[in-house]
């Protein structure tokens, strides 16, 4: 297995820069996720790794082999790269049976017929599609086609798997099931995998590490816990976690030893540990962040509480989503179904001390 090193990758399409100066290291055997909204450049990065797109600048290394470098005029063709790719639309060859689809990459490389038969059957067995081998793609369901696409990728025992939103076209239940299966498969085969998705739940559940991209620029890289606990900017903070983190604008105010955020309609006192961290920071516009799942609700004023009016309640099985209006902004909180709140009531939201975030309003960067 190999690791992948991407240095200063830049790719433009006409006027638009799809990927800007990207630096990444994907470790051997890692299940690495490229996460971001549509148009953030994640698929472009994947295609560059596959060799299907040539970047304008930068280098891509597989282990110690340089596979792409415009500057040094190095470019290994996709055929020679020994990567396997699974596409969002599966890209199965419509005129071939499942067997022939999976056998194709082996055939093209001149593998003997008997060996092909052995390998294809073993792969089909592994993925539970053995009885579909003589069917054609149009006779298969979405989930089955997806497995054939996987089979075609696995059968070559490649060093790198690339997956471009492979679960996007499956219905919700199937997607959850396939997620687990993919993870199990990865544990079994141990192949370095780069996986593109826009679904942060998916990313958080199966990725070893995640790189969050926006408009072609890398926002943050880390394990899911790291991204969740310590987002580096408002974009990552708002993208990871659902419902999204609540963000309120205000002025950072220092009075004697206390640091507060002036939210306009009330003052919010920040806990001492934040006050210490912000000692050097000047008074400025900031964004106060806290996740819906990290709040308590009280009926009385508290200096570290925010006054809110209950707008709507959504009872979702084991949780209660509460929609508040704070000032003139919408805020969401999650609580237990037994929480004693009524629509129209005024309450105080108290974010958990350890889980408060402060971001610079202009740059979006985390200040603590």
């Amino acid at each position: 297995m190999v690791n992948i090193i991407i240095k200063n990758l830049t790719k433009k399409f006409g006027e638009v820069t799809a990927v800007k100066n990207l630096n990444l290291e994907i470790k051997e055997k890692e299940f690495f996720i490229l996460l971001g909204p549509s148009g953030c450049g994640k698929s472009t990065v994947l295609l560059c790794i596959a060799g299907l797109l040539k970047p304008d600048e930068g280098e891509i290394w597989f282990g110690d082999k340089l596979v792409t470098s415009p500057k040094h005029d190095v470019y290994v063709t996709p055929q020679e790269r020994k990567v396997a790719m699974v596409f969002q639309d599966y890209a199965l060859y419509p005129h071939m049976t499942v067997f022939q689809n999976i056998a194709f990459p082996l055939e093209v490389r001149g593998v003997t017929k008997s060996e092909i038969e052995e390998k294809v059957k073993a792969t089909a067995e592994l993925l539970g599609i053995f009885n579909l081998l003589h069917r054609k793609p149009k006779q298969l369901s979405g989930g089955q086609r997806q497995r054939v696409a996987l089979g075609r990728a696995i059968v070559r025992e490649p060093k790198i798997f690339l997956m471009d939103e492979p679960l996007a076209n499956l219905d919700a239940k199937l997607r959850v099931r396939m997620r687990v299966e993919l993870k199990k498969l990865h544990q079994r085969l141990g192949t370095t995998t780069v996986y593109v998705t826009h679904d942060q739940v998916e990313a958080m559940s199966i990725g070893d590490r995640i790189a969050v991209l926006k408009d072609g620029i890398l926002q943050q890289t880390g394990a899911s816990k790291e991204l969740y606990d310590s987002p580096r900017n408002t974009f990552v903070a708002g993208f990871i976690g659902s419902p999204a983190m609540n963000m309120l604008e205000g002025n950072l105010v220092k009075k004697n030893d206390t640091v507060m955020v002036d939210l306009g309609f009330s003052m919010f006192e920040l806990p001492t540990w934040i006050g210490e961290k912000l000692q050097e920071t000047k008074e400025s516009r900031v964004i106060l962040g806290f996740r819906p799942e990290h709040i308590e609700i009280t009926k009385k004023w508290q200096k570290n509480g925010i006054e809110a009016k209950v707008d709507m309640l959504e009872l979702i099985g084991r949780e209660l989503y509460i929609h508040f209006t704070v000032g003139n902004k919408a805020v969401v909180g999650i609580s237990r179904p037994t929480e004693d709140v009524k629509i129209g009531e005024s309450v105080w939201i108290v974010p958990q001390e350890e889980k408060i975030y402060i971001f610079d309003e202009k740059t979006g960067e985390a200040l603590i």
Binding site: L52, R81, A91, Y93, F104, R156
Partner: protein, 273 residues
């Protein structure tokens, strides 16, 4: 329902009236071709007489060789231009390189040029290559002038094949030629029929090239032979009509069986003539 009921009768009346108008020339042609000379003069064209196959035999006698000629060069030119169009279309639609749009435009304009503007140089070229008055010459000419439209047809069709399919084949290790052979070609049965049928009828129906390049020889195409029939005094109307029917036969058969593919070819925006 777009029109209320009583009007439907008017609709069918109109349709049948027009159908009648369209069929009339063919009907008189068929009946005339089955009459003796005397009958042609003495009977009304749309009334059939006691049928005789003489005109058909006479016409065949005159047109036998030209029909064979037309078959040969039409068949070969169709096959050649279709295959060339197919690989051109594949390359232009699936391999994005600088200038592929320009080259496509280069071919597309070639579809619309009036052939008069290349006729004289063509004549010189053919005679210099010693291909004047030869079937090979006609094959060459029809193949080359068929390349633009075939390229257009295939390129448009291959444009519908998702790029991800080609990308998958590349990562699977298939090179350009393998992708064409194992992925694109097997998916090409529809465009081959469309292009084949379109080319067959266009080339079979051609008159100008035949007239200029192969008029007085053994390579005489059927279209020119038929036109010659009209000019002569030896072939009376019944023989002429029979000759026209012999010549029309292959195209009519293709039209009736594979008509919908021919229509697809017409809709691609190009027309004969």
């Amino acid at each position: 329902m777009k029109f209320p009921r009583p009007r439907r009768i008017l609709l069918y009346v109109l349709l049948i009236f027009f159908a009648f108008m369209y069929v009339l020339p063919f009907w008189t042609c068929i009946t005339t071709s089955l009459k003796t000379e005397k009958d042609v003069i003495n009977t009304v064209p749309i009334e059939p007489a006691w049928p005789t196959l003489m005109p058909w035999m006479d016409a065949l006698g005159i047109m036998e060789r030209p029909l064979l000629n037309s078959f040969i060069f039409t068949l070969f030119a169709t096959i050649f231009s279709c295959f060339i169009g197919s690989i051109n279309g594949y390359v232009l639609s699936k391999i994005r390189f600088k200038g592929s749009e320009m080259i496509f435009l280069f071919f597309t304009i070639g579809i619309f040029i009036p052939y008069q503007s290349v006729l004289i140089p063509l004549l010189l070229t053919m005679s210099r290559l010693r291909l004047y008055n030869s079937i090979q010459g006609l094959i060459l000419v029809h193949t080359v002038y068929g390349i633009p439209i075939c390229t257009l047809l295939f390129r448009n069709f291959y444009g519908e094949i998702p790029d991800t399919l080609i990308m998958a084949a590349k990562t699977d290790g298939a090179g350009t030629w393998t992708i064409y052979r194992r992925i694109v070609l097997p998916l090409s049965s529809a465009p081959f029929v469309v292009a084949g049928v379109f080319q067959f009828t266009s080339i079979w129906n051609d008159f100008l090239f035949g007239l200029v390049l192969a008029r007085g020889s053994e390579a005489l195409p059927a279209s020119v032979a038929l036109a010659n029939l009209k000019g002569t005094t030896t072939a009376f109307w019944n023989v002429q009509m029979a000759g026209a029917l012999w010549y029309a036969l292959p195209v009519v058969i293709v039209y009736l069986i594979l008509g919908k593919y021919l229509i697809k070819g017409y809709m691609a925006g190009a027309v004969k003539g």
